[in-house]
Amino acid sequence: MVRSALSSGRRIGQGPRVGASFLPAASVIAASLLAMLPIVSTSGWYPDFGFLVLIGWRLLRSDPWPAWWAAPLGLANDLIIGTPLGMSVVLWSATMVLLDLVDRRTMWRDYWIEWALAALLLLLGETFEYWVASLTGSAGPVAAILPPFLIAIFAFPMAAWLVARLDRWRLGR
């Protein structure tokens, strides 16, 4: 960040884009909308794109949106991907609270800690989803959450990279 501020090529008067404060939330909704791609998946191992981008933003900054926006964003995600209404609301709000707690406890942050945190949150999400699915009458072996969990872990760096690029773009850097 410092280096990019010092380097030349930045024109005078260039600032945040219009609507920069809404872009993070909009990008989460856009990621949720990826579920509308005309892909018919038989296994359902795709990661939850909205959740990935949400974690990406929240780990990058502590203030991408007011914390409570997680609830309406989760509601939109539930409606779009068709999970029981309220599942993402709970999960995403809990993620915001949890990461606020983590922000107070961690002494330093680096890329590996962020990835580990993201993996923890993704595991939490998958377990929660498994629990809800078993309550709605489709209980299966717990091992069923393993493949989507691994795929989500390896999809996270891509989401984090995309979010970092978007953040720089929206702030006009």
Binding site: S43, P47, I81, G86, D100
Partner: protein, 291 residues
């Protein structure tokens, strides 16, 4: 517990505090919503239907684009090696003609036998035909999105099939689109029977695109590789004699089978009226099935 204080600005401090209170409120509202949608799955039907109405047309449009592009590629592939294909198709057609004549004879015989037995033939009514335009991508549940909705007469609980076999049943219906619970979902149990022996079996999804078959009678494993399973019509929701799946692997007391109707390759899916209308009213509630 709220995030660190943002300097000395009172306004910023209060803003942060209130947003923290609000996220807790959001969490509680979410828990209430989730509880309600688990205990009373039908309570948000209209909201979910409206959401499908917004999203399904987009999937539909995207689907049209990709299938056109895919069709052009496979169409070009078909011209390659056309002579060989032509010869092969002619051979197949000759065989099929013989088969068809046999089938017609059997059909006629069947009709006479049924008439002799005075069996009441229920007419199967197709309510609507649509395209499968998408599916749940990131869920343990297996849903597909269908491009017809209540505007075409589709209602929650109706069975969906394709020319190849059974696909599932409608669980959410919007005006222009609906969501189908595929037979490969874990909560979808279909009463079935084996085509070879007529033995009653039960098909239950495994969540990964395959189904689990269990015989109703305990004993020797009746399945063989390649066995076809068809619906039996028991329970009245799914129509009888619809192909369901083909056995690919045996396990200790049952078998694992692949659905014959692959939702990814189905061009058209037909929504039918429930075989016995009473079955639609008595749609199994998710919580009642939970262990």
């Amino acid at each position: 517990m709220a995030p660190p204080r943002p300097g000395w600005s009172r306004r910023a401090q209060y803003g942060l505090f209130f947003s923290f209170v609000a996220v807790i409120a959001g969490l509680i509202i979410g828990i209430l919503l989730l509880g309600l949608s688990l205990l009373a799955p039908n309570s948000f039907q209209s909201v979910r239907g409206a959401a499908i109405d917004v999203t399904a047309p987009i999937s539909w449009a995207l689907n049209a684009v990709t299938s056109t592009a895919g069709g052009m590629i496979s169409g070009a592939g078909n011209y390659w090696d056309a002579a060989h294909q032509n010869a092969g198709l002619k051979r197949e057609r000759r065989k099929m003609l013989q088969r068809m004549i046999e089938a017609k004879a059997i059909l006629q015989e069947n009709r006479q036998l049924k008439a002799a037995l005075q069996l009441r033939e229920r007419s199967r009514t197709a309510v609507a035909a649509g395209r499968i335009v998408g599916s749940s991508l990131s869920s343990l549940r297996r849903f597909a999105v269908l491009s017809v909705g209540t505007g075409d007469g589709v209602q929650v609980g109706m069975p969906v099939r394709s020319p190849d076999g059974l696909i599932g049943r409608i669980i959410d219906a919007g005006r222009f689109g609906s969501r189908v619970l595929l037979i490969s979902d874990r909560s979808n149990i279909v009463p079935a029977r084996m085509l070879r022996t007529g033995q009653p079996v039960i098909s239950q999804g495994r969540g990964d695109g395959t189904v689990d078959l269990r015989p109703l009678e305990v004993g020797r494993n009746p399945f063989r590789r390649g066995d076809i399973v068809i619906s039996s019509g028991t329970g009245g929701l799914y129509p009888p004699l619809v192909p369901i799946a083909r056995v690919i692997r045996l396990d200790d007391d049952g078998a694992i089978a692949v659905p014959l109707a692959d939702p990814a390759n189905t061009s058209f899916a037909v929504v039918e009226a429930p075989y016995e209308p009473a079955a639609q009213a008595a749609e199994p509630q998710p919580l009642a099935e939970a262990p």
